[in-house]
Symmetry: C2
Subunit: 305 residues, 2 copies
């Protein structure tokens, strides 16, 4: 099945203790579309300025990503983000956010996008997420992500989004903040009451938790010795997650758990280099091996006390 993804497409400038890049390809829709494109056809919705390098457009096309929904605005600049990570990679300092073209963005879906069965509302203004969702006819499965900025600034719109999605993905600090509790189990239970059938909480190096009304899955993160740049890990996770789901007819618990592992695996590659450098080079058997590594790493034999 095909996946529709709306989110940001950005030119990122990132500094970490292991290097620095300027004006490279980034954004939530970018990472998640590329990740999903390993498994299924992707339709992208977004906006860039005419400063957006052609080679990045080609990159999307080469991966079979449908960019008819990508607006390229003349005489305008692409969304820009600059951040700096400390030696402890959990410490991110956002240095600059220039929304540019996003300021007046009104997503309009091309006709053939409107019946896409799976929708991922990647991190973007929740009002835009709703606008996109309104244009899709009876999607089978809707996923959303968000961030601190919207939790604080557009809480009501975000809650409206949550009512209309099947699965919400958040990282642990976002879940704690949105639900005003330090306990992730409590946060998950509250989120389940807001609408979604599954709550996926990403914890970076500590793996990922997936909660349903009566299901619970804890996935480890792939152990990495060299993390160069955490940017895009969550978006890559989401893209791998929905991409994997889109390869089967029904999102059963079995399939959802595999999707968490596939998402984690793809994210583990993203953080090993800047931008999408490592991600775009992946092959199915490289992905396969890390998935198997996670299987081996989490297996233990039944215990009889």
């Amino acid at each position: 099945m095909t996946v529709l993804i709306v989110g940001s497409i950005a030119l990122d400038s990132v500094k970490t203790p292991f290097g620095e890049v300027k004006g490279v390809l980034g954004g939530s829709a970018t990472y998640s579309s590329i990740a999903a494109s390993f498994f299924v056809p992707v339709r992208m919705v977004g906006i860039v300025g005419n400063d957006f390098p052609r080679r990045y457009v080609s990159l999307f096309k080469k991966r079979g990503i449908d960019i008819e929904g990508l607006q390229i605005v003349r005489n305008a600049k692409t969304f820009q983000w600059a951040g700096h990570y400390e030696y402890d990679m959990n410490q991110l300092h956002t240095l600059a956010t220039c929304v540019n073209v996003f300021e007046h963005f009104r997503p309009t879906l091309p006709q053939h996008y409107r019946q896409t069965p799976l929708v991922f509302l990647a991190n973007i203004d929740p009002e835009l997420q709703l606008e996109v969702l309104d244009q899709v006819e009876r999607p089978r499965l809707v996923l959303c992500d968000s961030m601190k900025f919207w939790i604080e600034g557009k809480r009501d719109a975000l809650l409206e989004v949550l009512k209309r999605v099947d699965i919400v993905l958040l990282n642990d600090s976002e879940a704690r903040q949105l639900c005003d509790t330090t306990n992730l189990q409590k946060a998950a239970r509250m989120l389940l009451k807001m609408g979604p059938r599954r709550v996926v909480i990403k914890k970076g190096e500590h793996g990922c938790l997936m909660f349903g009304h009566d299901t619970f899955f804890a996935a480890p993160a792939f152990p990495l010795e060299h993390v160069k740049d955490p940017t895009g890990a969550g978006d890559t996770f989401a893209g791998g997650f929905i991409g994997w789901l889109a390869r089967s007819q029904r999102p059963t618990e079995i399939r959802l758990r595999q999707a968490v592992i596939v998402g984690s695996t793809l994210a583990s590659f993203t953080v090993e280099d800047f931008s999408v450098k490592k991600l775009v080079k992946l092959t199915p058997d490289v992905i396969q091996r890390r998935c198997e590594g996670l299987k081996t790493a989490s297996h233990f034999r039944k215990i009889c006390v």
Copy 2:
């Protein structure tokens, strides 16, 4: 097989957002001995003053813990510790530490202790850990734990301990500090070079990692909505871990992984109430059910990309 445990026996005063207790049973040897006693006979080495309540001595005896190695010193006070946890339970403030009887403690093992096959050197001055180890004749398996205080204050003695143990248990911040790296994989690899065959890194709510020279196991934590007091979680983990190992002849990777799960499970009960209140009430089938819960929570089906 029998387990010998040396560590602290304390009277703890703890305040958390969910309550407060004063002068209750605590200490690394206490939690770990009780946890191990669910599986095998335990021999305890430690010291208390004559203020140590008799009911606590009875509690040890009732659990079949051999306390011939427990020195009770006249006219002296038991080790006391006072701490305060914030709403985010990862924030601990130590309010007071009165070593009291520990100041002049010289452990002397009773004759029948000297051939105990499994030894757990619980958190205590590493010089005392070495003194105890010197008195045990060719133990089959030696485990140790430590803490920030010794990493900073008695690093050389601690490194000497590490040379002589089979397995080291540390929490994540201790491992990062001892190895001067934020990356746990790097820390584990460095620790493996210091002597132990396995490195177990406890991450509280994020579960636990076990590293060998060519093995890696990631275990989830049991999901808890109500954590009352995290004190003793790590010590309980260690006791359950070595207790489970002591029930079989050889510490194979299969057995070691189960031991991690058993340790995590017991620790999940400890934090649900103050002191050893919940721990001492456990029964095998209550423990069994949580072990099964962790099995279900971490299972996923093989992925074919």
